[in-house]
Amino acid sequence: MGGMERLLPTDEAYELLGLATEIADGELAPRAADFEARGEFPREVVRTLGRAGLLGLPYPEEHGGAAQPYEVYLQVIEVLASRWLAAAEAVSVHTLSCYPVYAHGGEQLRKLLPDMLGGELLGAYCLSEPQGGSDAAALTTRATRDGDSFVVTGTKAWITHAGQADFYNVFCRTGGPGPRGISCLLADAATPGILPQAAEKTMGLRSSPVAQIVFDEARVPADRLVGDLGDGFRIAMEALDSGRLGIAACAVGLAQAALDYAVGYARERSQFGKSILDFQGLRFMLADAATGISAARALTLAAARLRDAGRPYSAEAAKAKLFATDMAMKVTTDAVQVMGGYGYVQDHPVERYMREAKVLQIVEGTNQIQRLVISRHL
């Protein structure tokens, strides 16, 4: 990565980044192109990441985590994303999926955490619905109490890890309209009536399955209620703040990969008798890209440090997500431009990076929603 220096808070954080880099180079980089082309989810690769201890990094050791601050966890995400965005996103989504139980689960539910964080189980997060993504408070999936169970009926949409996950955080309506009528349930994927649909045919990030999930009178035990009745919306919004930082880190890693590839190409490519890197128009484009990446990384880590210090970070997380993902869209587009026709063909990964960048401007709150969040804090 262009000899970039990282400032990490501890020696063990350097060890962790070293391990993440070793696995990213050894297991992620060699597989990314083929899995993306086939649209196959790398379940075994995610297990390898789990066994290495990378699926529960920001949680306390007593629950099976690694007690790493977000500042460090996000840099691990960035390293993974620079080799394979879908694998980094899997870690980010899974980590987010463990948050509701960790932060709001009762003693019984938290007993599940070691298995959730240990890497053998994969989590997913069911918030969006076909008719409403950004307006999450209007969700209509209903959970009705029946004896010792909630009976869940409705359709969730855009669910990352649909059909692959072992557990789902399901946000559903247990009360009246509006945010206070929403609760969070932790459902086993094997529950009868939880029906993942065919995966969406996406523009990029194809090795990460995204699909609707139909809940057809799925019975979820009442003791799987996370927090209290009516806590669901608050839990979802808290987790989203953290999730936004994960996506920002993904964007930084993806942009870094595009820049590194474009620089490597430009060094080798000659036109008019000299390296194209010697043309200032192109050189400056790459310099701007490098500057944008550093700025996005700094913004992301600044928000992470606020979170680590227990201070409000919602607006800063939104700024980081907005800036980093718009930056990644620009940098990946410019990487294609630097490579000309070769950038546009699938023999090189930058066209894929460009397709992948687009989704980062949409997920975990569109960048328009981020602006809404930011403007509310003005």
């Binding site: 063990e12 060890e15 962790l16 391990l19 070793e22 696995i23 050894g26 297991e27 390898t48 066994r51 290495a52 201890g53 990378l54 990094l57 690694a66």
Partner: protein
Amino acid sequence: MNIVVLVKQVPDSGAERNLRTDDNTVDRGSASNVINEMDEYAIEEALRIQEAHGGEVTILTMGPSGAAESIRKALSMGPDKAVHVVDDALHGSCALATSKVLAAALGTLNADLVLCGAESTDGRVQVLPHMLAERLGVAALTGARKLTIDGSALTIERQTDEGYEVVTAQTPAVVSVWDTINEPRYPSFKGIMAAKKKPVQALSLGDLGVAPSEVGLDGASSAVVEHSKRPPRSGGQKVTDEGEGGVKLVEFLATEKFV
């Protein structure tokens, strides 16, 4: 089962490697040093045996003080402890002397099973496991692509150019493995942190009762007299297609036994 895995630190075979100009030994100072790749498979096999049968896994390394880094890396995969034979007098030791030192160190470890890579990427002589077994008076099961354990009975599939041979022996024994035997695990983050606290015992030649004159360059049974850089690649053979290019290509491939 008490297992000892021999781990050697070698210059990274993926990077430029050199011999020293003063004494023709491997230049470790300028190289990026790593665990000998084949030894990682031996570590993995030991850990799998431990997971199935219990017991203890000990790493045994002979090497300069810098090899401590590779020992920590090996321990981060999961072994319990390590022994590091380190002594300035060992510099330049031949395979025969190395086997003497390792045999002496193993004498203190009471191993049921000694596992090692079938060869190191720097020396590539493959004799060490045989020498070691001879010195210890135990069986040598070498070049394994598969190892099964039933009580004290060991069975390996010994990989050959044509296929494999089934070889059996009783513990204690020395077993060397190829990279076909398993897929080594990555260390875990917890494993890396735990490795810092695992015991590493340093042993000198004095501790082992081996005289300095028996090892090192002076005590070596073989010597590298001189070395030179590999010559640059020659230009190769150019075939100009004048209607018979295909035939010439096939002739070349047949002559070189590629087809």
